[in-house]
Symmetry: C2
Subunit: 178 residues, 2 copies
């Protein structure tokens, strides 16, 4: 498929101004190339070892080894109990828009699931920060493979009130399993 | 700085196997190039319009316009009340490892903040899904600029128990403000 196929979307309603149109044109050419800020040390060396599916618990400890040139970016990170880690599905090839996840035998859209086969192969894991040793962040709750490239780390700041959270097909699959 | 500078990190402790070493070498060459899966329609056209700093509330409604070729990936997304949107800081140049955020007059590391000037310019916003119309996701709580490229959407599944959450310098800055 041509990388310009998406331009057919640019209808008059969305294009409120030439500036927005120009930005979308440019975005197709100038999207960033990702670079690792570090690598995960994890007990998992094969995808089959990682707990998956309904009720899977991620209890493994691991280390986020940040590259020395990025270490100043960790300043004051010790104060946060939980971190959002963005990383690359570096052993996943291509993407699948609709597929059956390990937690259900029915297919769902990739953007309604945590499938590794995504248009942009970015994974997200919330970890608990146990301690920092220089450029090493010792964390609890890893679900990445050993050697996974880390793209970004952000502090986990707040929750959505539990009573307002709906979990779609995942909640339904859990119901059926009971 | 050379893109190979990070290789100095590769000590014997981290390199548990040749396989991991090889993967790290390859990652420096084969990281993915991001592509937009869609663009944000937002009321904000200038960064100064976006609520920032302590207690900032993101109450704006917006639309995630997904490109038609990715629409099948939205299958079953309607069941989720909240979505994690990953997007590109496409109007941010370069990165700053330590800087003062709008919520504090003291500098903090980029990985302990939500600064737009990150090594990988990926933004993250939790939005509430109001409704879906084909490839348009109408959402509440946008803090992106109009025209921002969307990289990924994931369902928001669970919370960290509030009593276990620590918020570091942000909580301290809030204390000082009171």
């Amino acid at each position: 498929m041509s990388r310009f196929a998406g331009l057919r979307l640019l209808d008059s309603k969305t294009e409120r101004s030439f500036d927005v149109y120009r930005r979308k044109m440019e975005a197709l050419f100038t999207m960033f190339t990702s670079q690792p800020i570090g690598f995960v040390s994890s007990p998992y060396t094969d995808p089959s070892e990682i707990p998956k599916g309904l009720g899977a618990q991620h209890q493994a400890d691991g280390v986020l080894n940040i590259l020395p040139q990025f270490e100043p970016g960790l300043t004051d990170i010790e104060g946060f109990s939980h971190l959002i880690v963005l990383w690359e599905f570096d052993r996943s090839q291509g993407f699948e828009l609709v597929g059956a996840p390990p937690s259900d035998n029915r297919p769902h859209g990739v953007f309604a699931s945590r499938s590794p086969r995504r248009p942009n192969p970015i994974g997200l894991t919330i970890v608990e920060l146990l301690r920092r040793q220089g450029a090493e962040l010792h964390v609890h709750g890893v679900d990445m493979l050993d050697g996974t490239p880390i793209l970004d780390i952000k502090p986990y700041l707040s929750n959505i009130p539990a009573e307002r959270l709906r979990r779609g097909w995942l909640a339904e699959a859990e119901e059926r399993k009971q």
